[in-house]
Symmetry: C2
């Protein structure tokens, strides 16, 4: 396609999304629920075609020399496809938010002022790799009354097209416009730039992928962008912590799934309990194969353990901002909660931070003064996730402080309008 044709194509897609959004916004909760159940059925019915499309992506990935982990993320087995259909069905069953009235109050002149929850309009998702994002994002957007434009990574191109067709069939069967969910039929990188200029037709852009993608989208877009750069999550073990609980939360945060954004990357330990806690941590992490990057105190404690400590090396400045996504953790001893909060403020990424303590004054201070999007007390950072927090499903985690901050589910794809009911009041 020439660049003029491509620009025209993207303008057409964006314009159709805007028209579809007006119709989806006026649909009933029942229509949206049915559209998603028809979509789940369409995924199951088209399983063969979707797996064939996925096979084309897989063979391209292999000839392009993609790593085994990447290829595994890309692969759609019939079991994974059933998981995708089930996830759509779960979103279908979530309570509907659109049209809900919130916080009604009566003004002195008798006007009744309420807020009604409404969709944002048109969402553009720009993402990499896993094809299930196509259906997850489409389902959440439709559930919340929006239209969506999906631009996945080129390595999942055929899989995304096939999944997108299933969503369109689901919409059409429920009597909703099939343009309510459109997968961009091109892998040309220029489509991203073109999309980001359509601020008349698109209300919000959600990039999901590496830091480079997110930075590019933020710098190019005329449309508001929900950013999620990285998760440098902290666990702070306060001097009044239950140390067994702290160890168990440290292990869960670092080891259960090290490659995700809500894994613990830095542990801060109060000096008063450093000897006993750091010793235990070194022993536990040695057994689990976790490398520790420690400050001087941590290295000294580990040195006294002789053979019981695993790999403990001196941390450099870059370790305090590292998102390892691996079995490595930075550990630092701090002089109390003030220093812990300062460290998080300086090196953190506004994602998720946990404190372990039995002292409620300390936990209150931590909750109030740490500005991150999820703050946890005596619980693992791994709970910073839309499903775990009760949002039903998540479209991403926002580290931009806007209407959505932290895990974003269907509600993060809505806003409210004012509804004012009177009896003929005029302004004096």
């Amino acid at each position: 396609m020439s660049s003029t044709e491509l620009a025209r194509e993207i303008a057409t897609i964006a314009g159709r999304a805007r028209e579809a959004a007006l119709i989806v916004a006026k649909s009933s909760a029942e229509e949206r629920r049915r559209a998603l159940e028809f979509t789940a059925a369409a995924v199951r019915e088209s399983a063969t075609e979707i797996i064939e499309a996925n096979a084309r992506d897989l063979s391209a990935a292999e000839s392009n020399g993609l790593g085994a982990a990447m290829i595994d993320r890309l692969r759609l087995s019939s079991e994974r496809l059933e998981g995708i259909a089930e996830a759509i069905g779960e979103i279908a069953q979530m309570p509907d938010l659109i049209g809900r009235f919130e916080r009604e109050e009566v003004r002195p002149n008798g006007l009744r002022v309420a807020r009604m929850r409404i969709p944002l309009g048109v969402i553009a998702m720009i993402y990499e790799s896993r094809p299930n994002v196509t259906t997850d994002a489409a389902a959440l957007c439709i559930k919340s009354g929006n239209a969506v434009i999906l631009r996945g990574g080129s390595e999942a191109f055929h899989s995304n097209q096939a999944l997108g067709e299933a969503v369109c069939r689901g919409l059409a069967r429920a009597g909703l416009p099939e343009y309510g969910a459109q997968v961009i039929p091109s892998t040309d990188r220029a489509t991203v730039n073109l999309l980001l200029q359509r601020d008349q037709d698109i209300d919000l852009v959600i990039p999901r992928g590496g830091e480079g993608l997110i930075r590019f989208v933020t710098e190019t877009s005329r449309i508001p962008v929900i950013q999620h750069y990285k998760g440098v999550c902290h666990l702070y073990v306060h001097q009044a912590a239950d140390l067994d609980m702290a160890l168990s939360i440290a292990e869960n945060g670092k080891v259960q799934r090290p490659g995700v954004c809500n894994a613990v990357e830095t542990i801060l330990v109060d000096r008063a309990i450093a000897d006993s806690f750091v010793s235990e941590l070194c022993r536990r992490f040695a057994a689990l194969g976790v490398e520790i990057r420690g400050d001087q105190t941590v290295c000294d404690i580990a040195g006294r353990l002789a053979g019981q400590a695993g790999t403990v090396v001196a941390a450099g400045d870059e370790d305090w901002t590292a998102e390892y996504l691996a079995l490595i953790v930075a550990v630092r001893v701090v002089d109390g909660i003030g220093e812990a909060i300062d460290h998080i403020e300086r090196y953190g990424s506004n994602h998720s931070e946990a404190i372990v303590t039995e002292d409620s004054e300390a936990s209150e201070r931590f909750v109030r003064q740490v500005g991150s999007s999820t703050v946890l007390v005596n619980a693992s950072t791994r709970f910073a996730d839309g499903g775990q927090l009760g949002l039903g499903a998540e479209i991403g985690i926002s580290t931009t402080k806007l209407h959505a901050y932290g895990p974003m589910g269907a509600e993060g794809l809505t806003t409210t309008k004012f509804v004012v009911r009177g009896a003929g009041q005029i302004r004096q």
Copy 2:
């Protein structure tokens, strides 16, 4: 200043705002309240200096040939200054939102999940003309725990500087950082571009002014922008309307203050009642000096009134999208509520629309299907205003569907973070 020096200056201002924001976010409600009361006192104490600074702006405006209306908007009398101090005092007395817990729920695993209201961080206001925006915006930002950077129009430069100094003194006296509110000390247009690149330090940009300014900011900014383009507000007179009420709301919407964004610009009238309502409207508006731009039916009805109608001319296409801000109104006859909603969808600006009807089915449909940020039933569009809707004060009206849509007060300058309290839960 050279462009390198200017860039360095703006970077310093933005960095100081970020540092101040961290401190203001942790301040107590009492400290923020005191800061605003000290600011109101500082405005009163410095009345002479502020009026002198304003006199410099006024004489520059006169030699630059500014219109009388513009000069009046710019003028600060001691009475207006007292109004400014009172407005700051009112914001000081508003209930504080920061740290408020919302929607606590318990997950099946016993985790208690709540949302805590927090400030956005650093707000940049870019505005034109009226100097009172300097103190209104600063007071709302501080009340809601934010830091603010203010970049007013060059015609109010000295007035804004003097008002900004009063805010800084108020902050300092309350023990808060004076950099919590900074007025940019330059009228160089390049400062706006430079500010809009500081996405690491600024969380939200709010432009207030003409469409050109808002478009420029949107196209240039890397930071999320709250847009408020224009208000093409509609009044829809349904066939089941109380016609006296409809006339009174039409008059209030058009005449009480025609130059504001929530004034009525288009009236849609159901065909079933067009004869009687349009006749009455023509008579009433003739007496008030309001020009009508009508469709064919309206012109025909007016023609039959002979001398009783005022100026009634045929509307062109451009009248349906016009924000007159003057004693002119477009009037169109529609075939029922569906056509009225379609008209608003096609020509409206997502600001405010009112329906007058005694039929609750019609008003419900209007409320649910009109996507504008304020929808009113049997009340004047002039109520679409933060103060009138109970927000206390407003920093602007958002026609961007993001976390704030419609009139934005202190709450529109906040978001929420998740707070999770457990008893050692780890993820399975």
